[in-house]
């Protein structure tokens, strides 16, 4: 189980960042997207190999109208 954008999610054994992105319908080359795990930025170059710990808080953010 991880917490993905505020919601508890079970990734069925795919507890990787790619699994989390896939659960949001994002491809690894999605434009204008950034990821933080437990408050730390994970650069895009590390997405493919990044394994998520149980209970990891994953935030996947993108551009919204604002300011």
């Amino acid at each position: 189980m991880i917490v993905l954008n505020g919601q508890a999610r079970d990734l069925d054994g795919q507890e990787t960042l790619m699994g989390a992105l896939d659960a949001l319908g994002l491809s690894p080359d999605a434009r204008g997207v950034a990821v933080a795990v437990d408050g730390e930025v994970v650069p895009r170059a590390r997405w493919a190999s990044y394994e998520l710990a149980q209970g990891a808080h994953v935030e996947v953010l993108t551009a919204m109208q604002g300011g």
Partner: protein, 265 residues
């Protein structure tokens, strides 16, 4: 600057070495549709627009960035909604990752009703982000001392408020805005509080180097028309500032000489 310079676009604004021909920054929040946002960007002639960072909605991302890319404008990500230095710093790092820009409009909010900045947290976040190589443009109060402190830690510009965000109350303390202009040697961008074109003109007449408008345009009944009005107000205010206004007097000063005045007996 002269009218020719303003018209020809040679009266440029330089922030952290980047030249901008438009002195109007546009917030993208509050537009009823992306079409109206695109039309307003065009009417405003802005070259720099703010964007926020929010959670990805499955199937929803991309279109805003497409619109902004087509418009050919630069992105100024913000940290809107952050209440602590830590949140703002992490958000800025994420913005750098997402949009490949070191520029950040730093907002650290201290009060829900007024959305006024939290000065100590703002200063802390600014210092940390400058150390990390960001070009920091802090949204700040109209306090000249805080503005100077922000510049002391390395901010590339300061963005004092005219009035609370989205309030449309204009420039509530013109004396402080003028003091800020004198207190710092980086660009001053009037941010927040603009309600209509005359507010933007006043900010420029007070010596601001640029104006940022969001709600005043996006929530106007006709956003593209208001965007055009803001563009012209910023130009008019800039010209008036350079032209040098007459001093205020309590009594009339005739503009027509009495010399040669007829005497009808």
């Amino acid at each position: 600057m002269s009218e020719q310079q303003v018209q020809a676009g040679s009266d440029t604004l330089t922030i952290a070495g980047r030249e901008l021909r438009s002195r109007l920054l546009l917030g993208t929040g509050g537009f009823p549709s992306l079409e109206l946002l695109a039309e307003s960007i065009q009417a405003s002639a802005t070259e720099l627009v703010t964007v926020a960072l929010r959670r990805v909605e499955p199937g929803g991302q991309g279109s805003l960035l497409d619109v902004l890319e087509r418009a050919g404008v630069g992105l100024l990500p913000n940290t809107a909604g952050c209440h602590t230095a830590r949140d703002a710093v992490v958000t800025a790092r994420l913005a750098r990752e997402a949009f490949a820009t070191d520029w950040i409009k730093l907002e650290v909010i201290g009060d829900e009703d007024t959305l006024l900045p939290d000065a100590p947290e703002l200063l802390r976040a600014a210092e940390e982000l400058v150390d990390e190589g960001f070009v920091v443009l802090p949204y700040t109060t109209d306090d000249p001392v805080l503005a100077r402190r922000l510049v002391d830690v390395g901010c590339a510009a300061v963005m004092p408020l005219g009035a609370p965000i989205g309030s449309g109350m204009g420039v509530r303390n013109p004396y402080n805005i003028a003091l800020i202009r004198e207190a710092v040697d980086v660009p001053v961008v009037l941010d927040a509080g603009i309600g209509t074109a005359s507010d933007a003109a006043l900010a420029m007449e007070l010596g601001c180097d640029a104006v940022m408008a969001a709600s005043a345009i996006s929530r106007a009944q006709d956003p593209p028309a208001m965007a055009m009005a803001m563009r012209r107000a910023v130009e008019a205010g800039r010209l008036a500032r350079g032209a040098g206004r007459i001093p205020r007097r309590r009594y009339a000063t005739a503009s027509t000489s009495d010399e040669g005045l007829a005497d009808f007996g």
